[in-house]
């Protein structure tokens, strides 16, 4: 308690030097929390969007289906096994049929992934109902805003689409963009055409077939379904989490730089203290303070620096983080052009554990860099300290 009081008195008595250190530390602290919150918010939003628009409750894949190998699509289609079909009939799943195709908007050729989806599905949040409302003669197509942008297509545009049916025969017809959906998941947008499932089954001559089946969120993912492969939610999210993890690693470099800035400030200040306050240290020793308590006093001063930084950070950073956590920061560009899932507004997620964890990390590092120069004090002889000489 005595050391605590003395350290606080010394710290506050040092005036500007203390507050400069505290300001730098609090800046680093708030910035780290700020950035961590963005990554956390980015991650949570991306997971939510991916689940809602694509993954739902997991999937059953045709045994030949490999999303990384488009050549498997020729073989990757079939009637879902009975247990899955029962789930489909109960409305707890929906089939998706895939094939490769090409489109020719205004004479340009673009390879696309053609996807058949039941228009009346409610398994994912894609606005597929419009596909069932079409009364025209062309193939009704739903595309994302990113796809529309890259293909320069607008609602009502008619273009040629070419595909290959189950026999390997090429066929082509006119398709019409009946709706452009704004969806933040590029995985269901870029390079993709969404058609009514039955229409695509007719086009490919694959009645009742699917490439994979998406289970409804909360529905049981059946394990024993023969050759088809159940793919749980974590299977889809893992790849995404790996990407986020990679991005987080980059962020950690930034945190390390910020922490190093704060740590160097404190370290520099503590080293300076040794030289500026060595006579004071000698006096403390002459008055009977043992070396370990002198070290503890200086370490406590450094540790308190982080406490003051936390308080200062809470004063100016608290409202800022609250604003960012509730209102978010609008993106200056269209998120559909970004290529990864981005919310229109970046909203930070600042959990208690993240804030406490960052606080603890900053406190430990700042205390550590205070201890190192303080330990040097312990080696100072009282007579050398009193005369202003150091080892």
């Amino acid at each position: 308690m005595l050391l605590f009081k003395l350290a606080l008195k010394n710290l506050l008595g040092a005036g500007t030097r203390t507050w400069l250190n505290v300001a730098v530390t609090s800046f680093s602290f708030v910035l780290i929390v700020f950035m961590s919150g963005f990554y956390q918010g980015f991650l949570e939003y991306a997971q939510q969007v991916t689940l809602e628009t694509e993954v739902a409750g997991g999937a059953y894949w045709h045994p030949a289906y490999d999303p990384d190998d488009p050549f498997t699509l020729d073989e990757a289609h079939g009637v879902p096994p009975d247990p899955v079909s029962r789930q489909l009939a109960a409305g707890n799943a929906m089939p998706i049929l895939l094939t490769q195709g090409s489109i020719y908007p205004e004479g340009r050729m673009m390879p696309v992934m053609v996807k058949g989806i039941p228009p009346d599905q409610n398994i994912v949040t894609l606005p597929t109902a419009v596909l069932g409302e079409y009364t025209g003669t062309a193939i009704p197509v739903l595309i994302g805003a990113g796809m529309a942008n890259s293909a320069q297509l607008e609602e009502g545009d008619v273009f040629t689409v070419r595909w290959r049916d189950v026999h390997g025969t090429y066929d082509a017809d006119e398709a019409e963009v009946i709706s452009i959906m704004r969806v933040e998941n590029p995985g269901v947008d870029m390079g993709q055409l969404w058609l009514p499932l039955e229409k695509l089954q007719d086009m490919l001559e694959m009645p009742g077939e699917a490439t994979y089946v998406v289970a409804a969120s909360g529905a049981e993912l059946l394990a024993d379904i023969g050759e088809w492969q159940p793919k749980p939610v974590i299977f889809f999210m893992q790849e995404y989490l790996d990407v986020i993890e990679m991005k987080s690693s980059n962020a950690k470099v930034l945190y390390a730089v910020l922490l190093a800035m704060a740590a160097m400030g404190i370290f520099n200040s503590q080293v300076l203290s040794i030289f500026r306050r060595r006579k004071e240290i000698g006096t403390l020793m002459a008055l009977g303070m043992i070396r370990s308590r002198v070290v503890a006093l200086f370490t406590a001063e450094g540790g308190m620096n982080s406490v003051l930084a936390f308080i200062l950070g809470a004063i100016w950073g608290g409202p800022l983080l609250f604003f960012v956590g509730t209102k978010g920061i609008p993106l200056p560009y269209d998120p559909t052009e970004f290529g990864v899932i981005m919310a229109p507004r970046l909203i930070g997620v600042y959990g208690v554990s993240m804030i406490l964890g960052t606080t603890l990390l900053v406190a430990v590092i700042v205390t550590l860099v205070s201890y190192i120069p303080a330990r040097k004090i312990a080696k100072l002889k009282p007579t050398e300290a009193l005369t202003g000489r150091s080892n």
Binding site: K279, A286, L287, G288, P382, T383, L386
Partner: protein
């Protein structure tokens, strides 16, 4: 150790390494300081006064010989034991005051008692009394930077006497003061010596200080050249 002695020094040698060899700051010093004595180590610069004071105060270690302070032989003691000796039994007064700059007068004087773990009430009483002795009761909330040199030294004296140590070591306590302040400070220390029976050891080459000493130890080149007892110190009657 003689009951009447607060410090006993026998065949003390102190060497400092210099380059490949060493410099002998004290050689074959043998002397005692009696309880309640007002002793001065007198000599020119480099004669070993401060070195001897530092060794008596447990701030430095002898190279040879034995030093016993307050019944504790200092040889072989670790820094914790020496710190304990200083904390309990020795007060220090420095030439440059060595006050803690961020503390008030009251807090500076209180500091040795904090190290002793004295309860708050007793601490306040002791600090008030010490500040009364040095006549600084109106400056309790001032910081060292707001005080004159004489006032700073009076704070340093209050800090040294507040725990009522048996021995006070003062290294050139008047070196940074003018004549009037020097006499005031020395008069104050004489009174404390009389009232508290505290033993004082000074290092000085100030003629004014010498006029207050009851015993003078002359040091030349690290050796005791002469020791004299003064029956009637020149300035004692003035106080």
């Amino acid at each position: 150790m003689d009951d009447n002695h607060i410090v006993e020094i026998r065949d003390l040698v102190k060497r400092y390494p210099v380059g490949g060899g060493h410099f002998t700051a004290l050689r074959d010093v043998t002397t005692d300081v009696a309880v309640g004595e007002f002793t001065g180590l007198v000599g020119p610069s480099g004669s070993g006064k401060t070195t001897l004071l530092n060794i008596i105060g447990g701030l430095d270690a002898p190279s040879e010989g034995s030093v016993t302070v307050l019944d504790m032989p200092l040889g072989g003691k670790n820094h914790k034991q020496l710190a304990h000796l200083r904390r309990r039994g020795i007060g220090f007064i420095f030439q440059t005051f060595n006050l803690l700059p961020v503390y008030t007068v009251f807090e500076n004087v209180e500091f040795p008692l904090l190290l002793l773990g004295m309860p708050t009430g007793d601490r306040k009483k002791a600090v008030d009394q010490a500040l009364e002795w040095v006549d600084l009761t109106d400056k309790v909330k001032s910081r060292p930077a707001q005080l004159s040199g004489g006032e700073c030294q009076r704070v340093a004296i209050a800090r040294a006497i507040v725990k009522k140590p048996k021995l006070i070591i003062a290294d050139e306590p008047t070196a940074n003061l003018d004549a009037k302040n020097s006499h005031n400070i020395m008069g104050l220390l004489v009174n404390l010596n009389r009232e508290l029976s505290t033993s004082f050891i000074f290092a000085t080459h100030d003629e004014k200080v010498m006029g207050y000493l009851s015993r003078i130890v002359h040091l030349v080149d690290g050796c005791i050249e002469q020791e004299e007892h003064v029956e009637s110190p020149k300035y004692w009657e003035r106080k």
